[in-house]
């Protein structure tokens, strides 16, 4: 679709993604708001999350092919190697072929803020895993 170089992509950005980000940012502490930067044909969302004890610097990339292709989220704060963490500290959030509703990216139902919330949930699991050695959510099916 071309997020920043086609009419449908730009309309999606303006009518769906931007209002969702603005709602997320409203009333939020400035350090935890989403800041958007244009990089090439896509966007980078920079923000911080504090699921429990620790603050994590985060980056979610919306590629030019977004929303057809899911956003990619990585943790900039160094993490201990753990399950569901891919190369470059990229979170494994959307399992290919998964039939579990929460493990499947749906371009027609989700906005980029869904990816931010999914990252928050992932970090919460990470903190539980760090303390207990158990990842508290089941594997995607």
């Amino acid at each position: 679709m071309g997020l920043l170089d086609t009419e449908p992509g730009k309309r999606r950005l303006l009518a769906v993604e931007v209002p969702a980000i603005e709602r997320y940012n409203t009333g939020r502490d400035p350090d935890f708001r989403i800041c958007v930067t244009r990089v090439g044909g896509g966007l980078v969302l920079a923000y911080a999350l504090k699921p429990c004890y620790n603050v994590y610097r985060m980056e979610t990339r919306l590629l030019s092919s977004y929303p057809i292709v899911p956003p990619e989220t990585r943790v900039l704060t160094p993490l201990k190697h753990c399950p569901h963490l891919l190369e470059g500290q990229t979170m494994c959030l959307w399992r290919q072929g998964s039939t579990r509703a929460a493990s499947r990216w749906d371009a027609s139902q989700f906005t980029c803020v869904f990816a931010v919330v999914a990252a928050w949930r992932w970090l919460l699991c990470y903190e539980v895993w760090h303390e207990t050695g158990e990842w508290p959510l089941p594997e995607a099916k």
Binding site: M1, G2, L4, D5, T6, E7, P8, K10, R11, R12, L13, L14, A15, V16, V18, I21, E22, N25, P30, R33, I34, C35, V36, T37, R38, L43, S65, P67, I68, V69, P70, E72, W94, Q96, G97, S98, T99, A101, R104, W105, D106, A107, S108, Q109, F110, T111
Partner: protein
């Protein structure tokens, strides 16, 4: 009648061959970027000697040979190319019906956006991996979009292709295919159904599956979906707004093989009427400005969010 088709792969060329023989068809515009490759040969219309030529050129020669009276325009282009969206939008506006035989989600979404903007009906054919069966979908103006259908069917989009890295030392070498190829026979069956649905020729009412087919596709979600027959009107017979503002996309799933967990039996059909989703972000997004005003509004929004 003007057909606007995207995709002339092994399925697309078979659909084109069938629909262009209909005497109502007087003009065809085809968009196909690829080159005929060695692995295409055994399920295509063209001989090995055509390898290396553009599929759009081969399709043009084929159509001109069997229907010299049809005005045929072949564009060696990618339907997602941002630089060509204006000309694609013009073609969508000029056509009477669209045919999508593309094999990737980006092209399907792009074609859906073009046809919705032009308020034109279109059909989509998809052969399942390995040729175990296939889908034919029919979309009407104002009805469910491809996003509604993909969401309803819980479709996946791969984040990155699982292909091996390209061999830069031998760029023309044969590359292994990414999916399990279907046979020409199975492609021909689905292409035949796709052509029938496009031309408005309804196959006989199907015998419904006795039970759920397994995990590949979900059960219908509401009372509008179970085994309802496809609406009888023909897109071509009724002309451009033949289906009016039907809120449903109509989908035909046809099995060609019994596959445990997917299809109980071969040669069974299942029909779905997929409703337009009121929460779909693809077709239900709020209105936005167009042209320069859109560019300006996007720039303003990004500047606002960049300064948070």
């Amino acid at each position: 009648m003007h057909l606007f088709q995207v995709g002339a792969g092994s399925g697309g060329i078979a659909v084109l061959d069938l629909v262009v023989r209909d005497p109502r068809v007087t003009r065809v515009t085809l968009v196909e970027p690829d080159v005929y490759a060695p692995h295409n040969v055994y399920r295509y219309l063209f001989p090995p000697s055509a390898v290396g030529r553009r599929k759009s050129e081969l399709a043009a020669e084929w159509v001109r040979a069997i229907r010299p009276d049809v005005a045929f325009e072949a564009l060696a282009a990618d339907i997602t190319d941002p630089a060509r969206q204006e000309s694609f939008a013009r073609l969508a506006g000029e056509c009477d019906i669209g045919i999508c035989a593309a094999d990737n989600e980006a092209a399907k979404f792009a074609f859906d956006a073009l046809m919705r903007a032009a308020n034109k009906p279109w059909t989509l054919g998809e052969v399942l991996s390995g040729g175990i069966g296939g889908w034919v979908h029919r979309f009407a103006p104002g009805g469910a979009c491809y996003g509604c259908v993909a969401s309803h069917l819980q479709r996946e989009v791969k984040e990155a292709p699982s292909a091996p890295p390209p061999d830069y030392s031998s760029p023309n070498a044969t590359q292994p295919e990414l999916t399990i190829p279907a046979s020409k026979a199975s492609i021909a069956v689905i292409a035949g159904l796709h052509a029938c649905v496009t031309l408005g020729e309804e196959p006989n009412p199907p015998t419904p599956f006795p039970k759920k087919e397994g995990g590949a596709e979900p059960e219908p979600k509401d009372e509008n979906t179970p085994s309802a027959p496809l609406s009888p009107p023909s897109f071509l017979g009724k002309g451009v707004g033949g289906l009016g503002s039907s809120p449903h996309a109509e989908s035909l799933l046809f099995s060609l093989q019994a596959v445990p967990g997917v299809f109980d039996a071969a040669f069974r059909s299942r029909r779905l009427r997929i409703p337009r989703s009121p929460t779909c972000l693809t077709c239900g997004a709020p209105a936005a400005p167009a042209g320069d005003a859109l560019d300006s509004a996007v720039a303003d929004a990004l500047a606002r969010l960049g300064g948070q």
